[in-house]
Each structure stands twice: as structure tokens, then as C-alpha cells.
């Protein structure tokens, strides 16, 4: 269980290792509140879809495998959308079209294909939830920088002093590209170094 958590949060993080789910990472991260809600939404949908698909995996004919997966993912996404609209309409307005776009998030389909199709329901649920956490973790860090530098606030509360000039580029998607690139670079560097340190000592070269 802990292994799955560590895998999906770091070693095989969906965003900077598997490079999945980038689209919404660029769009919603300019404000921390939207990122948090989006992260929770994606985690819920990924977990529940993986769980459901795992439950019915033995019944699904091969020809309609992907169609069934999309159906399940869309189902949960629409439920999330309806719940947001009914109970927190302000947030729903802020997130707007991005809630519907959860359906297209590659992470969810990726986990369904890679894990839920061939594992039992409860592990699949956990795998889905931890993948969602991996996604949320990266988005959160990016959004801290983007909101702080682009708006001067965190979760809407003004943090930067009055005279601070906001960095307009932080508000636009390109800034998320830069941060993601930096993240991928740092993340992979740390992991490669760890791998190299663990690699067996190479055989000594023969004396000339």
C-alpha cells in the first residue's frame, strides 16, 4: 500500500514522470483555490472510476473496453459537475469548463488501462486515489508560485506587500509550461542520481 503511494506520488508521478494530464495542469493552476478543487475532483473521479472498472473488468468484452472506460469516467465526472453546481455554485462558476474536461484527463484513462483492468477493486481504488494525489501535489506546488507571483495572494488572501508588481506572465498558461519543465528536470535529476547511486559498482577495467 505504501509502495503504491510512493510510486504514484514520486517515482512514477503521473505529471512529471509519466507526463500525463498536463492540459488542466496548465489551465487551473493560476489560483490555488481552483487547483485544490480540481485536484479533489480528479482524485475522486480517478479513484472511483478505477474501482468501478476493476469491479466489472471480467464482464467487459474486449471490443468495447475503452468505450466502457470512457463511459464510467464520464459518469463520475458528470456527477462531480452536478454536485459542484448544486452545492458550491461559486466554485463551479470559477472552474467552468474544466470540470467537464476531467473526462479527457489522460491520467484517469491511463490508470484504468494500466492498472484497473488487471487488478482487484480495492487496490485499484487506492491506485486511482494516489495517482490523483500525485497530480494534485504537482499542481499545488505550481499554483503556489503562480498565484503568489501572478496575483500576490494565496487562496485569495493578499500575501505580497502593496508595492509588489504582479508578474503578468504567471497568470497565463505559458508560465505553467515553464514550471512543469523545471519540475520534470528536477524530479528526473533527483531520481536518476538515486538510481546511479544504487547501481552496482562496475567491473574494474583491465590493467594495460
Amino acid at each position: 500500500m505504501w509502495k503504491t503511494l510512493k510510486e504514484n506520488l514520486w517515482v512514477n508521478n503521473p505529471i512529471f514522470m509519466q507526463i500525463l494530464g498536463i492540459c488542466s495542469a496548465l489551465a487551473v493552476t493560476n489560483q490555488m483555490r481552483n487547483t485544490a478543487i480540481m485536484g479533489i475532483g480528479v482524485t475522486a473521479v480517478t479513484g472511483l472510476s478505477s474501482f468501478t472498472i476493476s469491479c466489472i473488468k471480467d464482464l467487459i468484452p474486449r471490443k468495447v473496453r475503452m468505450i466502457t472506460q470512457v463511459l464510467v469516467i464520464a459518469f463520475y465526472t458528470v456527477i462531480v459537475d452536478i454536485m459542484l453546481k448544486a452545492y458550491v455554485p461559486d466554485v463551479s462558476k470559477e472552474l467552468g469548463p474544466y470540470v467537464g474536461l476531467i473526462i479527457t484527463n489522460c491520467i484517469i484513462m491511463g490508470r484504468a488501462e494500466a492498472y484497473a483492468q488487471s487488478n482487484s477493486p480495492l487496490p485499484a481504488l487506492w491506485d486511482g486515489i494516489t495517482s490523483g494525489f500525485g497530480y494534485m501535489f504537482i499542481l499545488f506546488v505550481v499554483s503556489i508560485f503562480r498565484e503568489l507571483l501572478g496575483f500576490g495572494s494565496m487562496f485569495g488572501l493578499q500575501i505580497m506587500p502593496e508595492g509588489f508588481t504582479t508578474w503578468a506572465i504567471m497568470v497565463s498558461p505559458p508560465s505553467a509550461f515553464f514550471f512543469l519543465g523545471i519540475f520534470i528536470w528536477i524530479g528526473k535529476s533527483i531520481q536518476y542520481r538515486a538510481e546511479a547511486a544504487n547501481a552496482p559498482v562496475s567491473a574494474p577495467t583491465p590493467a594495460k
Binding site: A27, V28, N30, Q31, N34, I56, L59, I60, P61, R62, K63, V64, I67, T68, L71, V72, F75, V78, I79, I82, M83, K85, A86, Y87, P89, E94, G96, P97, G150, A168, V171, S172
Partner: protein, 198 residues
């Protein structure tokens, strides 16, 4: 058996049926709440154009009592006296960058100034065009003079506080959205003038 044609068809049908059934159920138990939310947003926007801040259902209902409704050429106008002037508020809609921008706009009966502006629906870029819903942008419209039958949306700034120049600041980096707002303003002013007989 699992991969036979018949099974595939039946399976897909049953699965779709089940999921859609659950979705319809969820929809029907929340539809009333969602309608209420929409109605609340609409009334809150209308009050906002009259300069009244109403933050919950009670305040909205209390303040909405004093508002009359009239129909002109098929368009509903909400009428209220604001600061001694009779103000008319009606719905607008116009294309933005990604979708349609909808809201309410109020003007005085001489159509000489905009009393207030509110946005209820928009799908513009978060952090850019979507900033039309922010306070600083909306505040510019309050009591802004209408000059030569229009209000000019300038190139982008931090909020024009001069009420007599008939100009408001657009949003930097959101040209198409700002242009969309310009079109909405022009058309609303034209419509108001026609309907109020000016």
C-alpha cells in the same frame, strides 16, 4: 461468449442504461437546487446593477420587492429608483473569446450614463478574460457617462476611475474579451435608446 457480438451489444446497452439511470436520478434530485441557484444569481446580478449588494437569499428577496418589471419590444426591463434617478436594468448577451458572455446592465432613463453592470455567465480565459467578473472591472461601469451613444473600452489598464470620460479600461492580454464587452456595450446602448424612446 464474452466476446460474441450479442453479448457485446447487450452488455453495452445494459451498462449505458444503468449509468444513465443513476445520472438522471442524481440530476432530478438536484435540479431544483440548481434552478434556485440560477434564479438567485440572476436576481443578485440585477440588484448589483442597481448598486445593491445582496449576499444571500433573504437579502435578495427583501431588496427585490421594490423592483417593477416592464416589457418593451419583447425585452424585460427591471425598474428601480436609484439615488433619485429611475434606472432600467435588462439582460445582455454577446460573444466573448470562448463562448457567450451574459449578464445585466442598468442605465438611467435618459440613457446618459450606465448605472451598473454585472456578469452572470462567461467562459473566458481564467486570469485574463475571466477578470471581467472581478470587482475592479465592474466598478468602472458605475455611473460611467455615455458619450456619443457609446462607452469606449480602452486598451487595458487597472481600472479607469474617471466617470466622465465615457471610457473604461479593458483587460491587458484579453483583447478579444475586451472587444466582446465593447460590442455588448454598444448594442445595449442602442437597444436601450430604442426601447426607452430616446
Amino acid at each position: 461468449m464474452k466476446n460474441s457480438f450479442i453479448y457485446t451489444v447487450i452488455f453495452t446497452f445494459v451498462l449505458c442504461f444503468l449509468f444513465v439511470l443513476i445520472l438522471s436520478f442524481t440530476n432530478s434530485i438536484t435540479i431544483e437546487k440548481i434552478q434556485q441557484n440560477v434564479e438567485f444569481e440572476k436576481n443578485r446580478a440585477i440588484l448589483q446593477t442597481f448598486g445593491i449588494q445582496a449576499n444571500n437569499l433573504e437579502e435578495v428577496n427583501k431588496n427585490f420587492g421594490g423592483i417593477q418589471t416592464i416589457e418593451k419590444n419583447g425585452i424585460t426591463y427591471y425598474v428601480k429608483k436609484v439615488d433619485g434617478v429611475t434606472a432600467y436594468s435588462s439582460a445582455y448577451q454577446g460573444p466573448g473569446l470562448w463562448g457567450i458572455i451574459r449578464g445585466y446592465i442598468a442605465m438611467d432613463e435618459k440613457v446618459s450614463k450606465v448605472i451598473g453592470f454585472a456578469v452572470t455567465d462567461q467562459n473566458e480565459t481564467p486570469g485574463l478574460g475571466a477578470r471581467i467578473s472581478e470587482k475592479w472591472f465592474i466598478e468602472q461601469f458605475k455611473n460611467e457617462a455615455i458619450i456619443n451613444n457609446n462607452i469606449r473600452v480602452s486598451n487595458g489598464g487597472v481600472g479607469d476611475s474617471n466617470k466622465d470620460n465615457g471610457t473604461i479600461d479593458g483587460i491587458t492580454g484579453a483583447t478579444r474579451t475586451s472587444d466582446g464587452i465593447q460590442v455588448i456595450l454598444n448594442q445595449s446602448i442602442k437597444q436601450f435608446k430604442k426601447d426607452l424612446g430616446r
